[in-house]
Amino acid sequence: MLTSEGLEEIEATRAEEPSARHALLTALRVTQRERHKVGPEEIEYIAGLLGLSPAIVEGVARFYDQITASPTGQHIVRVCGGITCYLSQSDRVAQDLKGFLGIADGEETSPDGEFTVRLVECIGDCDHAPAGMLDDRFVGPLDERALRTISER
């Protein structure tokens, strides 16, 4: 289910930490990165991997915003919805971006499964309001140029 690289990362964390449970968050991150979701099957897989009950894994997985039950696109664009960015109309920016990427209203992911656009809470890049992230990179401010760069990618 996971790549050997991902498994290694989980294994390394597990070896370093006092118990398997400490590697849970890392395992969830790795799974989300590689599978673009942590649904029931992934939860059972991780539970088996770390020797935890699936309920515990589910409880932790569903606590964090970045771990999603439904699949995201190959790339995820996070548009900051924090107060500063909100005042720079980041909700409209998100709308525009969805338009650029052909994502329908009420949807988050483009039909080709390439991009997911999500309005998230403050991402800690307020000086580039309206801030945004393309996967793990900060790409704010999300002006027209940035939007085009993202959509052309």
């Binding site: 932790v60 403050c122 991402i123 793990d136």
Partner: protein, 454 residues
């Protein structure tokens, strides 16, 4: 403008160990290693360094609470889960001077006798984690961190952990829970982390900036730090200013720097030639200030406290003329409702309820007495929750409604049925902010406060 911490952050080469060491990186750690633990703690105590995460608790004293029993391990957790809206100072510091942060972690770990330290970064800071990891690899390879740091015989290993998007992980016990692979439900205190923290062992949780300060203090001496700033607020502070200013960004200022001067000079004035309407001085968790209130203030703990707010994390959000305060408040309230972990009742239900009422007011479906309801819900949350998130969610609601009453009343259907005391308060509020700073400094602490304002 001060440069105690940010002297070299302009230079991208500072990320490289060689460059950084050429500029004196890890000299503070070397000096600390030559001293006993108690001496390091005493030095930090003498510098007057206070926690930069928001609560402003004296760092030296926090470290002195650690009394490990036989067979216990001690842990230092560096709180880099910078999730307070409007705050991005640690982002800046870790990106541009990762070795300073690592040095701070090493100094802190040595001072409390920890051989294992963690840096917990919020999930969005994955790219910063890479920077830190690269720096950590360099430092480990150079023998600075690892077995027998700098040849001193002191062992230290540092772990990096990324979160996955939860504001509550910035609360110290929430951070501990998250690190242990649990839902980040804050723990009830007592017992405090200094007694039962990570893995139920004595633990200190410090903010990134605090630890960076500690590293610089060890390099330059307590005197150099204490000379800066005011009597109660020593040193400098990283201010991350955003919103309606010309030059948003991170600026280091000496404590006691006039707020208005900061806005006009460093931040370049209010954007678009507008007038200042309001300013949140330390992240959304502290009460908002009107332009009139903000005018005479200086950037330090006691001045902010005198105006009934807090310096907090130093995440300043500036509102220009024409901003709709109810809309801004709704966004803030929704943030807390979304980020409430849902563990304890008042915060779980109260934050959602406040957001719901605000939403209905802004949708034109307000009911008579809704503003009073908001304030009353806030009163019922404040001081009744496990961690500070509940209190933090109340501060903006209460201060926005009291200070920008007309804007809210315009939304609320008449009659606005709430008593005058709810609007104006009973006088200076105690509770969250505790006694005035002078008294607080003299009185014995009854609890180790959280590192991070929530």
């Amino acid at each position: 403008m001060a440069d105690f911490l940010t002297r070299h952050t302009k230079d991208p080469a500072q990320k490289k160990l060689d460059t950084a060491r050429g500029r004196g990186a890890y000299e503070g750690f070397r000096r600390a290693l030559a001293m006993s633990r108690q001496e390091v703690v005493a030095e930090i105590d003498a510098s007057g360094l206070r926690g930069r995460g928001g609560a402003g608790f004296p760092t030296g004293r926090k470290w002195s609470f650690i009394h490990a029993k036989e067979g216990q391990s001690v842990y230092l957790l560096c709180n880099a889960d910078e999730s307070e809206p409007g705050t991005f100072k640690d982002h800046h510091l870790m990106t541009f001077d990762p070795h300073l942060v690592l040095e701070g972690v090493a100094v802190g770990a040595y001072a409390i006798g920890a051989h294992r330290a963690y840096i917990y970064l919020r999930g969005e800071y994955a790219s910063i984690a890479e920077t830190l990891a690269a720096a950590l690899r360099e430092a480990t390879a150079a023998g600075i961190i690892g077995q027998s740091c700098l040849g001193s015989g002191y062992d230290l290993s540092v772990g990096l952990q990324l979160g996955a998007g939860a504001y509550i992980c910035g609360e110290e016990t929430g951070l501990i829970q998250s690190l242990e692979g649990k839902r980040a439900y804050p723990r009830v205190r007592p017992p405090f982390p200094a007694v039962h923290g990570f893995l139920r062992e004595p633990t200190v949780v410090n903010n990134v900036e605090t630890l960076a300060c500690a590293a610089r203090i060890m390099a330059e001496g307590a005197e150099a730090f204490a000379r800066l700033g005011t009597r109660q607020s020593a040193g400098t502070k990283l201010i991350s200013v955003s919103g309606a200013v010309e030059r948003p960004g991170v600026y280091e200022v000496e404590m006691g720097y006039p707020l208005m001067q900061f806005l006009s000079h460093e931040a370049g004035g209010i954007s678009g030639g507008r007038r200042l309407k309001a300013i949140i001085p330390g992240g959304t968790s502290v009460p908002v200030l009107t332009a009139e209130e903000a005018a005479p203030l200086t950037i330090d703990y006691e001045s902010m406290l005198s105006a009934g707010t807090m310096l907090g994390s130093g995440g300043m959000i500036v509102f220009g003329d024409g901003t709709s305060m109810p809309h801004a408040l709704l966004r803030i309230a929704e943030f807390y409702a979304h980020e409430s972990c849902g563990e304890c009742t008042p915060c779980r239900e109260g934050t959602g309820w406040m957001a719901w009422v605000l939403r209905r007011l802004l949708a034109g479906e307000g009911r008579p007495g809704d503003l009073g309801l908001l304030l009353r819900v806030g009163d019922n949350i404040e001081g009744r929750t496990i961690c500070g998130l509940g209190d933090a969610s109340v501060q903006p609601v209460r201060s926005f409604i009291r200070k920008f009453r007309q804007e809210f009343e315009a939304l609320a259907p008449l009659p606005v049925a709430f008593p005058a005391w709810q609007l104006h308060g009973h006088g200076p509020r105690t509770g969250r902010f505790g006694p005035p700073v002078e008294e607080a400094a003299q009185s014995q602490p009854v609890e180790g406060p959280p590192d991070y304002v929530l």
